[in-house]
């Protein structure tokens, strides 16, 4: 299905009605009564979760599962599956410089990348709403392979070796992004949380530069690229914009009103209701109020799209998700009323 990216983005900018693209696939696991450890291994089950969500909640676009272990597993990392959480990398694959130098890029489709692609294809073929695929960013993947603390040390003290590893993660992710695009989904959300721990200059050199290569490989009029970073990004916005992404998805570590003035109007900004301390743990009434507050304080920015600050964890009550959407409905009704 052709996705009219420019039309979609234009509608965000021109319609008074605010759109929402929350990052949430996990509530779908509960909707179909499946177990996370089964869902994360099975593209068909993943699709069923997202389909069930699409029937239950009126959002403007959906995102497939944010499983940031898939790509590391394809490279050879050992993964642990959990009863309640996303899978996680449990062993360091690259213990020294020689392991980095010897690292081979896997084929796209290896391990569970094939399942994620299968889910993306089913979403593109069967769901009416736009669906975005998901993958990890090059720096975060390098951190998963070499150990995050070690990758940070390499970045500061052995930059050539860090760049060598980043070239390899980027080469694989470029191909993986192309494969996600070929499934027919509307775009991709690339999660690069580890870059949020870097200085602005390091973020540019060790993440944004590589991200830009990936964006260039896939972005066009029918394929939208959203860059997710949930760190303290107030000083990194220039670096994030240099990637050429269509949209920035901002985490809840920052006040989004410190970000929006830094972003030109042609780039969308999504965010950033706290998925844990608001959406999961507050009452439905509190979620409703917090969502309305976020909508009110961002009201003057045309390029803003309501979202969660990150992927929703397990056990977020459905009544809280409904409260989030009810707040948006109320807000949009008031906007329509103002227009009349």
């Amino acid at each position: 299905m052709f996705f009219d990216k420019n039309g979609f983005m234009q509608s965000v900018l021109t319609e008074r009605r605010r759109k929402t693209i929350p990052i949430m696939a996990m509530p779908g696991v509960e909707l179909i009564g499946a177990k996370p450890q089964d869902v994360f291994r099975d593209g068909d089950l993943q699709f069923r979760c997202i389909k069930a969500l699409s029937e239950a909640v009126p959002v403007d676009a959906q995102v497939t599962f944010m499983d940031l272990s898939i790509e590391a597993e394809a490279f050879g990392s050992k993964i642990a599956f959990s009863e309640h959480e996303n899978p996680d990398v449990i062993e360091v694959l690259l213990g020294d410089a020689s392991a980095i130098q010897a690292l081979q890029e896997p084929k796209v489709g290896a391990k569970r990348t094939g399942e994620a692609l299968h889910c993306a294809r089913l979403c593109a073929e069967n769901l009416e709403r736009p669906t975005f695929g998901g993958m990890i960013g090059p720096y975060s993947l390098a951190g998963r392979l070499a150990d995050m603390t070690e990758m940070m040390l390499l970045t500061a003290s052995e930059p050539d070796l860090a760049h060598e590893l980043l070239s390899k993660t980027t080469a694989f992710l470029k191909e993986y992004a192309r494969a996600i695009k070929s499934t027919g989904v509307a775009g991709i959300l690339i999660a690069e949380p580890a870059a949020g721990l870097l200085s602005p200059e390091m973020c540019r050199q060790f993440s944004a530069k590589y991200m830009e290569e990936i964006v260039k490989a896939v972005r066009d009029d029918s394929f939208m690229v959203i860059l997710h970073n949930c760190g303290r990004v107030e000083k990194q916005i220039d670096a994030l914009l240099s990637t050429g992404a269509d949209a920035l998805h901002i985490g809840n570590a920052v006040d989004i009103c410190n970000i929006l003035p830094q972003v030109p109007e042609h780039v969308l900004v999504l965010g950033n209701l706290d998925p844990v301390n608001v959406l999961k743990t507050m009452t439905a009434d509190q979620v409703y109020e917090k969502t309305l507050q976020l909508l009110e304080k961002t009201a003057s920015y045309k390029n803003y799209v309501l979202s969660s600050g990150c992927d929703l964890p397990s056990a977020v009550p459905m009544k809280n998700i409904q409260a989030f959407l009810n707040a948006l409905k109320t807000y949009n009704k008031e906007k329509d009323h103002d227009e009349l």
């Binding site: 642990a80 959990s82 309640h84 959480e85 996680d88 449990i90 995050m148 603390t149 940070m152 040390l153 970045t155 500061a156 003290s157 721990l197 870097l198 200085s199 390091m202 303290r232 107030e234 000083k235 844990v276 301390n277 999961k280 964890p313 397990s314 056990a315």
Partner: protein
């Protein structure tokens, strides 16, 4: 006479070789060990921690500064043991049971060590038994980390396990808040590694 400004700069810049050279020279000159630590390396680590809190320094800079300090500490350790210098206190740091994330825990351990504390790094996936072992080794403060909402509740088990004992429990991690710390009865919460050092300072000062 040791140039403590140069030692501080070397730590701040994460220059391991310079730290080693200056510390070795100081040892050769029979410089007071307390001065090397208290006028050179520890203030530098506290300074980088404060810069981190102000969003003026970032995780890689913290890590290389800590590694540089460790290079100096390695040279000093036999002398510290022989001098009978008292540590500022013993703190055990661990990511709680079920959780395998370690960068936050590592940062807290590094910053505490840099501030002069004796740190027991318990690693990840720590049950109460592991924390209990740390207490047996003399830890007065247990710092529990968690990145996952599903592992956060284990912090409550740790707090309840040590209830009524002299040991203090502090908590942190991405989903953790001061409200949660209050709710489970933890002795403190910090949102970042430098804040954890200040919290531990406060606990030992009040002890």
């Amino acid at each position: 006479m040791t140039n403590f400004d140069a030692l501080q700069t070397a730590v701040l810049k994460g220059n391991r070789n310079d730290v080693k050279d200056i510390v070795q020279q100081a040892i050769d000159n029979q410089e007071d060990i307390n001065a090397i630590l208290d006028q050179g390396m520890i203030p530098a680590m506290r300074e980088i921690g404060d810069r981190f809190s102000r969003n003026e320094a970032y995780v890689p800079e913290l890590l290389i500064a800590a590694r540089a300090m460790q290079a100096g500490l390695t040279l000093l350790e036999p002398l510290i043991a022989a001098s009978g210098r008292k540590t500022m206190g013993k703190v055990a740091v661990g990511t709680v049971k079920g959780d395998l994330h370690d960068i936050g825990k590592n940062l807290v351990a590094i910053m505490l060590k840099g501030a002069g504390y004796d740190v027991i790094d318990l690693g990840v996936n720590c049950d109460v038994g592991k924390f209990e072992e740390a207490v047996a080794q003399g830890a007065n403060v247990l710092a529990c980390s968690s990145l996952l909402t599903t592992t956060m509740p284990y912090m409550k088990e740790v707090v309840e396990h040590f209830k009524g004992r002299k040991v203090k429990i502090i908590i942190g991690g991405a989903p953790v808040t001061q409200d949660y710390a209050d709710e489970i009865g933890a002795d403190g919460y910090s949102e970042d590694a430098n804040g954890a050092v200040k919290l531990v300072d406060k606990i030992f000062k009040e002890a």
